[in-house]
């Protein structure tokens, strides 16, 4: 079976400064992994590399059989990306965002709305802005969920909601101590 995420010696350099040291990992359906970075920016970049949003300077990233450098749209279709920032906007804006995603992802709006409503109901104790961000990411049928600067306890909640999906979370070591990244290391990250 093809792993859902294969990262081989991916690292990221900007203006001659290595922001992400080389890392490798393999994730299969239902597995979880976390990557801790020294700064929030580095954590964001690591998550975006795993979600096919940013291309690594060196190394390769495959999501299922798709090389994120060559086939990013195909790879992104399998990923639910949860950005660090919450969704800022009213209920109407959220509904518009769902409609927009239904059009761009070419999905049925009713299915997407039902799925998002289920996620929101399951995460009702979370801050609404962040719950909406998670709902937008999880609304399409995704196989890999990537969390950028994961918030406390969210990974476990998502794992309960989508037990078959692989989860990759990044976090920063200098994150506030009130929100420690408590994430199970199911897979060894080298």
């Amino acid at each position: 079976m093809t792993p859902i995420l294969r990262v081989s010696d991916a690292h990221f350099v900007r203006d001659g400064v290595e922001l992400i040291a080389p890392f490798s990992l393999t994730l299969e359906d239902g597995q979880r992994a976390a990557l801790t970075q020294p700064t929030p920016n580095a954590a964001k970049i690591a998550a975006r590399i795993a979600a096919a949003i940013v291309k690594p300077t060196c190394g390769s990233v495959f999501i299922s059989d798709f090389d994120t450098r060559l086939q990013p749209p195909q790879a992104k279709r399998l990923v639910g990306f949860v950005p660090a920032d919450g969704f800022e906007g009213s209920t109407r804006t959220f509904a518009r965002e769902l409609k927009f995603r239904a059009q761009v992802w070419n999905l049925e709006l009713a299915t997407l709305e039902r799925s998002a409503a289920d996620v929101l109901a399951a995460l009702e104790d979370l801050k609404l802005e962040y719950a909406r961000t998670v709902a937008l990411a999880l609304a399409p049928d995704v196989h890999l969920i990537v969390l950028e600067c994961a918030r406390y306890g969210v990974v476990e909640r998502i794992a309960t909601l989508r037990p078959n999906a692989a989860i990759f979370a990044s976090s920063a070591t200098n994150a506030p101590t009130t929100h420690p990244p408590v994430i199970e290391f199911a897979v060894t990250v080298t």
């Binding site: 929030p40 979600a51 949003i53 749209p73 950005p83 927009f100 761009v104 992802w105």
Partner: protein, 229 residues
Amino acid sequence: MNALRATFAIARREMRPYWLYSVGARILLGAALGTLDTFRFGQGLIVMMILAVPLGVVAGLEPRIRDLTYFIAPLYGRQLARAYAVTAATAAFALPCAFLVANILSVRVLADSAIYHDIGFSWTSIDQSRGAPLQVPTEWLVAGVALAMTVASVIASLVGLSATLRRGLARTAYVALACLSGYFSFLIIAATAFDVPFLLGAFAAALLLGFLALRAFGETLARYDPVPY
């Protein structure tokens, strides 16, 4: 079909209130200049000729290119580029088109105005061998200039799109390049205005410039990494 649906969804998302205000302001300005030109030839036209290209470049700078939502979406760079182009070109169209429509309508309303029709402008055909000098009615001249400026401002907006992903000097250089492309497109159209084959060639050259700018922007978007600073 999916690509088209996604393209229009992005374009519609980008046509947010700020964009509507911006287009509204362009339409008002264009209408005012078009009406002004009816009373005194050149007064509105020259201002429109000066402003259309820079405002076209501004239209190219308006889309929220760095919005992470677009990079999360399963889209190719070219699809994103097309959507931004639709938004930018629509805004760029507004000023010259509003000018033209206002001018035509106000000339119709003031049809008996001797001031407007007795300006006495005439042009001699570039090709003298064709015979008598070619008399160009003022309305045609204004309409022709407005159409040429429409093309020029759209080209400027398409080249200007590439400035959105740059910073500092590169951004300034792209803005300057966009202005130059716009005025260049206008000049080649104006210079060949009286010779249909050359005029078609000039339009083709301007469109090619816009196409190449859009393609380059698509490539840049495909290579762009939304990295936090």
